[in-house]
Assembly symmetry: C2
Homo-oligomer: 191 residues x 2
């Protein structure tokens, strides 16, 4: 998606260690117009899959996901990183965060993920694929059908797509901006 690639080139920064800093428009400060445009493209790409639920992980996945739910008029569920008092039965899986360098549980209530759901997973980043693998596991536990995954930004050189497709070879994965390399202050997109 040209609009997102141009914004990454304009406002993103390549930092040492394969980190792309986009926290002025995606994952700390957020641009609502851009998030809505990204969601519109995701809904267009996955419309034919007939998804009935959007699933994301708090917190940076929520903005594009809620626009996708709004545009498609379907519910959006965000997996939580802590269990609130009000949550009874739950599915739990462990995820390793690349940017925060620690393991954490992600949790979805059994009330909001179940057999019969056709799930589209949306997140801000596809890097090593750990959050995606957590979602694969949560959907498997719930008996829900995972129909696709959509990411704003994919760091292709970190192998996340390969990892997920190893476990679900026929899963459709779409990323709106695919980065092939992050150099010393340079950002390269895949052709």
């Amino acid at each position: 998606m040209k609009e997102l690639e141009q914004r990454i080139l304009k406002d993103g920064r390549s930092l040492p260690g394969g980190i792309l800093k986009v926290d002025n428009f995606i994952n700390h400060q957020m641009d609502g117009d851009l998030m809505c445009a990204c969601a519109r493209e995701i809904v267009r790409l996955f419309k034919a899959e007939g998804f009935t639920k959007v699933l994301t992980v708090e917190a940076s996945g929520i903005a594009p996901s809620i626009f996708a739910g709004y545009l498609a008029h379907i519910p959006v569920v965000f997996a939580k990183k802590a269990t609130p008092k009000t949550l009874d039965g739950k599915f739990v899986t462990k995820v390793h965060s690349f940017t925060k360098d620690r393991d954490y549980d992600i949790i979805v209530s059994k009330e909001y993920l179940s057999k019969g759901d056709k799930v589209l997973f949306i997140d801000d980043f596809l890097a090593c694929g750990n959050a995606g693998m957590g979602i694969v596991d949560l959907c498997r536990q719930a008996g829900a059908e995972l129909v696709g995954m959509a990411f704003l930004v994919e760091k292709a050189f970190q192998g996340g797509r390969r990892l997920i497709l190893k476990h679900m070879p026929s899963l459709r994965i779409e990323s709106l901006a695919v980065i092939s390399a992050l150099g010393d202050g340079t950002i390269s997109f895949a052709e």
Copy 2:
């Protein structure tokens, strides 16, 4: 806001300990259409204040906030509960979570909150006012002007509004649904 009150009566549940469970349309599973309608009302209420930035706290505040940012075409910043690798200078304050019963830090990058910002804080719940007081402190540290606070749901019997107004007597606080009492399975709204 009638639409929100009716949804709370239809899908919300009053639980022991003053807890209102609304996790099937606000804070775990989310209804994008309702979140957009709430944001529209918040933008209408605060338009005259000339806010230039929406500030919220991850994760449940993000959905209404990103719609408000989209509708008003201004940036949305969410305060974080953990510090990612990509964040340098930051403002930090401590907050007590009522529903999770623990203290945690909330963090905003110095890049995204500063003197000259006219801040509208948006969150899902006003209960004891702890998150709100954290926002007051972050804005004070940054030298930003806090022009108002908007909440989807206020639990009036938990004193949050009083606490915040004690520190900022002239602050405008608006809640779209004000709950006067939660009984054994009953939910009462303020007149």
